[in-house]
């Protein structure tokens, strides 16, 4: 069976771009990805795309060319981009198509997301009494994790400090100035124990990837990282997820643990083989917990690993080399594909200033509402 390779990657810088719609940022990213591969829109056989708040993704078609290709809109919460990639992967793997584009873009208003209880199958009082906030979920989850596994407040700060340090070298990142540890730790609390520098913000951006069968890539004289594994999983019984008015006493695995296990199995390799990882860091604690949930360490080991700088550039396993969500912000539809974009740059030795030397295996993991996770393993 033919391998699937990523032959082109494009991004519209994350952050705030006044005067440019989310859709326009998606079109921009697709044009960048096509230019990166040296291809034309007319070379594309299919497209999968999504946005959460910036309209229907197939509205990019009139801007790029009405070539009649199948364009399937993907709407899957925070895993929208990852779902588009997985769909593109499956389309090629099936043998029906040889080359296509996956795209994700978004543009959110400033401030925390406001949620609609009814849309999530929850009663109105849950929102009215002020409990339907993703920030509260992340704070509750890390508060318990810190108490159970000996993670300190300082470690939360170190994760944010690293994000802003790394983003200095990532042209597509939003917040590209270092912020010192004391400033991070002493900033106003958003939801205890997390200060404002420890949370990512809703933002804007677009990412597109051109995926092709290895055979097609060879015919076109193109190359790129191979997709070794990719999987999405939703919340199982006993997991702790956003917007949960009650939990079962018997605790179970998380959506992240299921998705990562499926991805490792498909890739035939494990966490010990990874050279660089992009892990969902909606807030500092999420990166810490996801290190363990994806299998990179045991619970509590993060305290020492992070103190020793092992997840920093130059460390044993750099995490979130472009500053992650903390420094790039989170446009829901694009966020998961940004992680893959960054890994593509790392595996093509294009991550100037933040390059993990000789990186061969790169891993990414997205997590979000309503409790789902998507992981991808790429190989140089």
């Amino acid at each position: 069976m033919s391998d699937i390779v990523i032959v082109g990657a494009g991004i519209h810088p994350f952050g705030r771009t006044d005067g440019r719609t989310g859709l326009e940022q998606g079109v921009f990213a697709i044009r960048e990805a096509l230019a990166d591969a040296g291809l034309e829109w007319s070379d594309m056989e299919f497209a999968f795309g999504g946005s959460s708040a910036a309209g229907s993704a197939d509205a990019v078609l009139p801007r790029l060319g009405l070539t009649g290709i199948p364009f399937i809109n993907v709407n899957n919460g925070c895993a929208t981009g990852g779902s588009a990639l997985l769909s593109g992967y499956a389309a090629i793997k099936s043998g029906e198509f040889d080359i296509g584009v996956v795209v994700g873009f978004d543009k959110h208003p400033r401030g925390a997301f406001n949620a609609d209880p009814e849309a999530s199958g929850l009663p109105r009082w849950y929102g009215e009494t002020g409990m339907m906030l993703t920030t509260q979920f992340f704070a509750n989850k890390i508060t318990r994790y810190m108490a159970l596994h000996g993670i300190s407040q300082r470690t939360l700060g170190l994760v944010a400090e690293k994000a802003f340090d790394n983003a200095v070298h990532a042209p597509h990142a939003w917040r590209r100035s270092p912020v010192d540890l004391d400033t991070i730790l002493n900033a106003p609390m958003v939801s205890d124990p997390l200060t404002k520098f420890m949370f990512c913000s809703p933002a804007e951006g677009g990412v597109a990837l051109i995926v092709a069968s290895e055979k097609k890539a060879r015919e076109l004289g193109l190359s790129g990282p191979k997709v070794r594994g990719a999987a999405i999983r939703t919340r199982p019984v006993g997991s702790f997820e956003v917007f949960a008015p009650a939990l079962e006493i018997e605790r179970g695995k998380s959506a992240v643990e299921l998705a990562s296990a499926a991805t490792w199995e498909m890739a035939g390799i494990g966490p010990q083989d990874v050279d660089v990882a992009q892990l969902q860091d909606t807030e500092s604690g999420a990166e810490i917990m996801h290190m363990a949930e994806n299998g990179f360490c045991s619970d509590g080991e993060q305290e020492r690993l992070i103190a020793d700088g092992e997840t920093r550039l130059g460390g044993r396993m750099p995490v979130n080399t472009d500053g992650g969500c903390l420094a790039c912000g989170e446009p829901i539809g694009a966020s998961g594909l940004r992680q893959v974009y960054e890994n593509v740059q790392q595996l093509r030795d294009r991550a100037n200033g933040r390059q993990v030397e000789g990186a061969r295996i790169a891993y990414s993991q997205v997590y979000g509402a309503p409790g789902l996770s998507g992981c991808v393993v790429l190989e140089r």
């Binding site: 925390a112 406001n114 009663p123 109105r124 009494t129 409990m131 958003v190 939990l247």
Partner: protein, 150 residues
């Protein structure tokens, strides 16, 4: 007079409050809050335990966007606690946390169900939601609620 934020969510007020859950007639499994609408017929309404232990907590420091409708505007918004309390053998339930000192909360400490007037209607009526407070402060919050209601 105070009114409840929703039907079939809790009974009573202050230290006498009891949370209401649904018990599946088929599996016996507890669900909180009680399923409403088409699924409601499959569940019996049951009262949950009054006391449990703090499972986790945080403090909401900024005024949430809509549909939040609690008292206070951007300027005089009063941060409130939100956490989970494990009711032994039943469920781990999320709710507001009221305490003399939210900064002194500790995972595992005994907690008790209470109610909290989280907003006031245009007609001046207090709207109650359920909450949890440290078990040793239950008496104080009961008095506070009576004060609110008088």
């Amino acid at each position: 007079m105070a009114i409840a934020v929703a039907e079939n969510l809790f009974r009573g007020s202050g230290a006498d409050a009891r949370l209401l859950a649904g018990r599946s007639r088929q599996s016996g499994k507890l669900v909180f809050p009680c399923p409403q609408g088409a699924d409601a017929d499959d569940y019996d309404v049951v009262e949950l335990a009054r006391e449990g232990t703090l499972w986790s907590y945080t403090i909401q420091r900024f005024k949430p966007k809509t549909p939040f409708n609690g008292d206070g505007d951007e300027v005089n918004f009063k941060p409130y606690g939100v956490g989970y309390v494990e009711l032994p053998g039943q469920l781990i339930v999320e709710g507001h946390i009221v305490a003399n000192d939210l900064g002194a909360l500790r995972i595992g400490q005994p907690m008790r169900v209470t109610t909290e007037a989280y907003r006031t209607t245009d007609a001046g009526e207090a709207v109650l939601t359920y909450a949890f407070c440290p078990a040793d402060e239950a008496h104080r919050h009961e008095q506070a609620n009576e004060g609110d209601n008088s």
